[in-house]
């Protein structure tokens, strides 16, 4: 146990800032998950692996001498087609089936991706160096890498862009209509099959952006996918489907929680505490609802 957090207030500030910047990234991933959950009623366990794959795209650009920040543009374009491909191969066969079938199918995709990435990119922990330098605040008591600020900024831009796109564009309206009532949308001439493919593609593209940002701010590794899935699931269930400010807030809250868990419990319990928090949140909500004789659904 390390109580430095309470003795040195600057560490608290550091952890909060780190957590908020990290949480904005989580919120971006969770936004993608909420999108496909709301529209297609699918929980994608492979979400985190799509993030990591997006990260590797940026990392490879860095290896070939292109600045990894360009990955923010390139990675979503590639990931969009990856997402549509996954949809055409697997997801369209499970979309109207039992939810557990889709969980298991995407779990299979997750294992497949994990291993293919392990073969293709090796099992090393890598990061793409952006060379952005660091910012020092409060007499160097708080150290913020500029890449984190950059990634939070880009995430916000993409999230706002997507919200506007969903409101204004034709496809966005079609997606929202399908989410409300797929059958009615079909009757009114919306090609739901196309909408589903586009939704999954958009989600993958968001994962691509987030992955590229993670590869320049943190590290990526083929087996690091599942925690991102769990984090985004957690953010969505705390915020509720279709509650975008809630997603942003709970994303940041999770980021701050993680930074403090890291300081107080130690780094080896960081991932474990995230998973335990998920269990605790679900159990808490279960007891809260059971007072009204309801249950989570």
């Amino acid at each position: 146990m390390d109580f430095m957090v309470f003795q040195y207030p600057m560490i608290t500030v550091q952890a909060c800032l780190d957590g908020i910047l990290l949480g904005i990234l989580f919120a971006l991933i969770a936004y993608g998950m909420a999108l496909q959950w709301g529209v297609m009623n699918i929980i994608n366990i492979a979400q985190g692996d799509l993030v990591i794959l997006g990260g590797y795209i940026a990392y490879f650009m860095y290896l070939y001498g292109i600045h990894p920040a360009w990955g923010v543009i390139v990675s979503p374009i590639i990931m969009y087609f990856v997402g549509v491909g996954i949809y055409k191969l697997v997801i369209n066969k499970v979309v109207d089936r039992d939810l557990f079938i889709s969980i298991l199918a995407t779990f299979g995709i997750s294992i497949l991706f994990m291993q293919l990435m392990n073969f293709a990119f090796g099992a090393d922990v890598v990061l793409a160096n952006s060379g952005y330098g660091t910012t020092f605040l409060f007499d160097s008591a708080v150290v913020l890498p500029n890449s984190k600020i950059f990634s939070a900024f880009v995430s916000i831009v993409f999230a706002i862009g997507l919200v506007i796109y969903m409101k204004k564009s034709k496809l966005g309206r079609a997606i929202r209509a399908t989410a409300q009532n797929a059958r009615a949308a079909k009757i009114l001439g919306v090609d739901t099959e196309k909408v589903y493919a586009a939704t999954f593609g958009l989600n993958a593209a968001l994962c691509g952006v987030a992955g590229a940002l993670i590869s320049i701010t943190f590290t990526i590794h083929p087996y690091m996918g599942l925690p991102y899935t769990i984090r985004s699931f957690m953010i969505v269930i705390v915020a509720g489907l279709g509650n975008l400010p809630g997603v942003a807030m709970s994303g940041m809250g999770l980021g701050v929680f993680e930074e403090f868990a890291d300081y107080i419990l130690g780094t080896e319990f960081r991932i474990g505490s995230v998973f335990l928090l998920l269990v605790l949140i679900l159990v808490y909500r279960r007891f809260k609802l059971s007072r009204k004789r309801e249950y989570l659904k």
């Binding site: 929980i43 697997v90 066969k93 499970v94 089936r97 939810l99 557990f100 079938i101 969980i103 298991l104 199918a105 779990f107 299979g108 995709i109 997750s110 294992i111 497949l112 991706f113 994990m114 291993q115 293919l116 392990n118 073969f119 599942l226 769990i230 699931f233 269930i237 130690g266 080896e268 319990f269 991932i271 474990g272 998973f275 335990l276 998920l278 269990v279 679900l282 159990v283 279960r286 007891f287 059971s290 249950y295 989570l296 659904k297």
Partner: protein, 349 residues
């Protein structure tokens, strides 16, 4: 009934003779027994009760750690044992080994049962995919946290006591084979006994419509918890045996191995057919044969194959082998089929 007796006798004789008929496959056969136990117990939740859990791996891993810890801790200081790692400073005498194993297996079975009872009330109140994700989180959290605890080896793993030097390698294989076969027989008898009572009907009622079952006056939560405790008991037992068999426990790769064992048990039950007594047994056997073939010939690509296999089974074969047989030979399952109705259905297709 008579046919059943012959069937069970054949299987029992085959099971008892197997290590002597195929001496080279003793370890594989032991693992098969453990896999069948896991698939059968998963089926109590996933198949009969409709609660698709990824969390039974928690009890399996818990049993594994507990069995090994008790086996060591009864005679030697546990912390020094794990610190010494692979180099053995303490050696179990044969008596100590078997005593430790017996006590360890009892603890490995009982403690997970209690844990299941304690967390059952909280976790089993969740439904559908929330339950699935929550149990997935539980399994991974257990793996991550046990990987940070020093006394059971933390990240570097825990070496279980080596088999004492009586009878050499042959005796070790036979010991673990009969242990796991015994666990299998015990599980099968217990599950079969449970399935022949009202308990199974209650579980099926929960699967089909839990609210209605509750409205009919069934205390669903009680039965859900009991079902989970039965699963936990046998999962813990299987874990304890597997720990001794493998000889080395790692928190995320052996004990709380959600990526392998945790998915295997789901997959085997689905492959064989959910909600049947024999489905998981058949599924586990087919899966294990396939897996061993694949693991040997395509070394390195096994997880790729596993991922593809999950997707293919789930999408194209969700009813499993028993479901397929049931559709093909409904008479054998005691279903009355109207010939005219069947013809009409064929024409419709």
């Amino acid at each position: 009934m008579n046919k059943n007796v012959i069937l069970y006798a054949t299987i029992l004789i085959f099971g008892l003779a197997a290590p002597f008929v195929f001496p080279a496959f003793k370890v594989q056969l032991s693992i098969l027994c453990v896999l069948i136990v896991l698939a059968t117990t998963w089926n109590i939740q996933g198949g009969e009760m409709g609660y698709n859990t990824f969390g039974n791996i928690l009890f399996y891993g818990l049993g594994m750690y507990l069995c090994a810890s008790v086996q060591v801790g009864m005679f030697f200081p546990l912390a020094e044992w794990t610190e010494s790692g692979g180099e053995k400073t303490f050696v179990h005498t044969p008596t100590q080994f078997f005593q430790g194993m017996a006590a360890g297996l009892v603890v490995a079975a009982v403690v997970p049962t209690i844990v299941a009872g304690l967390i059952g009330y909280a976790i089993l109140g969740l439904r559908g995919h929330y339950f699935a994700i929550c149990t997935l989180g539980l399994g991974v959290a257990a793996g991550e946290i046990s990987g940070g605890i020093e006394i059971i080896g933390a990240g570097q793993g825990f070496t279980t006591p080596p088999f004492p030097n009586v009878g050499g390698l042959e005796a070790r294989g036979e010991f673990f084979y009969f242990l796991s076969f015994g666990a299998l027989v015990l599980t099968f008898i217990a599950v079969r006994a449970i399935y022949s009572t009202r308990f199974r009907l209650i579980l099926n009622a929960i699967r089909d419509n839990e609210d209605k079952a509750e409205a009919m006056g069934i205390e669903t939560m009680k039965y859900k918890i009991i079902g989970w405790m039965v699963s936990a008991f046998f999962c813990g037992l299987a874990g304890g045996i597997m720990g001794g068999l493998v000889g080395y426990i790692d928190s995320t790769d052996v004990a709380f191995d959600g990526r392998e064992m945790g998915v295997f048990m789901v997959l085997m039950a689905i492959l064989g057919g959910k909600g049947t007594l024999w489905g998981p047994v058949i599924g586990a056997t087919v899966f294990h044969i396939f897996k061993e073939g694949f693991w040997t010939f395509f070394l390195g690509w096994q997880y790729v194959a596993l991922g593809v296999l999950i997707v293919v089974i789930v999408i194209y074969f969700p009813e499993g082998i028993m479901g397929w047989l049931r559709e093909k030979y409904p008479e054998r399952f005691g279903e009355v089929v109207d010939e005219a109705d069947r013809k009409a259905q064929v024409e419709l297709k």
